[in-house]
Symmetry: C2
Subunit: 157 residues, 2 copies
């Protein structure tokens, strides 16, 4: 099952390495991770997305996270009601034959064109999980020159 875990940590040296180490020691691969400061610059929030095949091991990891020095709270948002968003930046190449199609996709997903070249656009899109998938799937017929994603962040309703 896919989990979204929000971890509030003291913004101190080594916290990220300890947390990443906890997951990797138990054989968990993290699908995406976003770490940024909160309203308090001494505190950061990590949003971790992962696929747990063994829920019991994930429960153990969450307990161990709680016990870590510098970890303030651990919330598994999976069963909670929350808004989720992800930002993607993508450089897409086009030619005469498919430029219009690309512009339609950009419009449909309310994406923003940051830069226009004669044969490529740099596009920014902020979308929920399902729409990100649809957006990237719609771009599959184009040549993607570069694609950068933030990983998902989430905020409880």
């Amino acid at each position: 099952m896919r989990h979204t875990i929000s971890v509030l940590v003291e913004n101190k040296f080594g916290v990220l390495a300890r947390i990443a180490g906890l997951f990797s020691a138990r054989g968990f691969n993290i699908d995406s991770l976003a770490v940024g400061e909160t309203e308090d610059p001494t505190v950061s929030r990590m949003t971790i997305v992962l696929n747990a095949e063994d829920e019991r091991i994930l429960e153990q990891i969450k307990k161990q996270l709680h016990k870590l020095i510098d970890v303030i709270t651990v919330i598994d948002l999976t069963k909670k009601d929350f808004f989720e968003r992800e930002l993607v930046l993508v450089k897409v190449a086009f030619d005469k034959s498919n430029k219009e199609q690309l512009e339609k996709i950009i419009h449909k997903f309310k994406a923003e064109t940051l830069h226009k070249d004669k044969d490529s656009f740099i596009v920014e899109a902020t979308l929920g999980h399902e729409h990100i998938k649809e957006f990237l799937s719609a771009l599959k017929e184009f040549s993607i020159k570069e694609l950068v994603r933030t990983g998902k962040i989430a905020i409880p309703k």
Copy 2:
């Protein structure tokens, strides 16, 4: 000096822990980190922002990163020309006296209101580094109930 480092890695178990460990072993605190899949699901891109007091040590870390198994490329974007964006989700409380002011800020920064309650909004904004700072600074007069940031991602021009 503030650095933005983009690291392309094989999407394999333990890579994140090894990379985070490299930085923390040298006493570097990471300001923000965003990890997400690229157009190739077996490959992820990490965007790391940090403040390097000792540039020589950062050079050593970049060399060590290059040598890590599962690390494909390491690019320090700091002196390059790139677009940078960050996504922030924020739950802001208001009252009669400052609701209008909040709506002005949302409009000014082209933020989007995801959810409206009688005394709070959940707002999404995707902005460049300087504008994020201005946006969060403008919100300082309000009570912030929750704030989640993705960390910056960047794409070369």
